[in-house]
């Protein structure tokens, strides 16, 4: 049980290293999707949902995540021993933090869409 706690804590520590720039990019993507949705509403007088415009922003998010990963590999390579000594594989570290980051991303996109919908219902 203690090991699982330490494991999770170490993964959160790794995520902390890049969560601020990752979150800024998420906010940028949400803002972009919102602008595109508003433009579509003005053109067609109807809201089809924010997810219609998410594809390009999803790829922006993915590419920037990969770039951040490459930065970590290049400039923080020795930190891998900190996690390896806790029994955490590099792949495991990246996959879990990517999943967490995408969860934050989709949650932020959902909330952006919801706020836009509420703005239309209650202008």
């Amino acid at each position: 049980m203690i090991n699982i706690y330490r494991h999770c804590r170490a993964i959160l520590i790794f995520y902390r290293a890049y969560c601020i720039p990752a979150f800024m990019i998420t906010l940028f993507c949400c803002y972009g999707a919102r602008i595109a949705s508003v433009a579509q509403i003005q053109d067609h007088k109807e809201f089809y949902g924010i997810m219609m415009f998410i594809a390009p922003f999803f790829w922006i998010k993915t590419i920037t995540n990969i770039l951040m990963l490459l930065y970590l590999i290049q400039f923080k390579a020795h930190e891998r021993f900190f996690y390896a000594n806790l029994g955490i594989r590099r792949g495991e570290l990246w996959i879990i933090t990517f999943l967490m980051d995408y969860m934050v991303f989709f949650m932020a996109v959902y909330l952006t869409g919801l706020s836009l919908k509420l703005t239309l219902i209650y202008p």
């Binding site: 902390r16 020795h78 900190f82």
Partner: protein
């Protein structure tokens, strides 16, 4: 008694053979030292044992059973690399908690760390960082620990204290050390190997270091 053996380790970089058919055996309750010239492959050997460097061929056995990617088992082996490996933004409390070490005992041993308890790790001096890194690896619950140049950058009084801790810790684990400060190493090792020309040579007498050209 736990036993760690490495066998037939062969490492090449770009066609140049660095390590060739290395055999070493480490036991719990003993401190084993590895000496060698710069670039002889000592650090590479430790990384091969830890599983983070892929050799052309290697066979690592814990108590006679082959083990792959040993770093997946921190209860069996831990490794301190030459470079600082702890994220800079962490505080001592977090680091010690993650590695299951007692921060209060550490502060009793090294009182100068008690003053700035909330200082991020990156703000300590290199020597202070080195000491923390060596300490957490040494004190963590693991059957074997490997320390790559633990005495470098430490002030003499800390080296003496660290040697004292190593002598205490070896009762419960196998300790593998490589360092160029060979006087300090000779002081604490029970067994000594030297890596020369890609091979491993057991050193039974410090005089052999002169014979092999490590010291003049």
């Amino acid at each position: 008694m736990n036993k760690l053996e490495i066998d037939s380790v062969t490492l090449e970089f770009g066609g140049k053979r660095i390590l060739s058919d290395i055999y070493m055996r480490f036991e719990s309750g003993k401190v084993t030292g590895i000496l060698g010239r710069n670039g002889s492959g000592k650090s590479c050997l430790l990384r091969i044992i830890f599983g983070t460097l892929q050799a052309q061929y290697s066979n690592i056995r814990f108590n006679g059973r082959a083990i792959f990617k040993p770093y997946r088992y921190p209860e069996k082996i831990r490794y301190m690399p030459q470079e600082s490996f702890i994220p800079k933004y962490l505080k001592l409390k977090t680091i010690f908690e993650l590695y299951g070490c007692n921060l209060q005992v550490f502060k009793n041993d090294f009182p100068e760390y008690g003053k700035d308890r909330n200082k991020p790790f990156g703000q300590w001096s290199f020597g202070q960082k080195r000491l923390v890194e060596t300490y957490i690896i040494l004190k963590s619950a693991s059957e074997f620990v490997m320390l790559d140049e633990p005495f470098s950058y430490l002030m003499p009084v800390h080296v003496e204290k660290l040697k004292e801790i190593i002598r205490i810790e070896k009762a419960g684990k196998g300790i593998l050390i490589t360092d160029h400060l060979y006087h300090d190493l000779l002081d604490i090792t029970d067994e000594l190997y030297m890596i020369a020309d890609g091979g491993s040579l057991p050193i039974r007498d410090p005089g052999e270091l002169t014979t092999y050209g490590y010291i003049s």
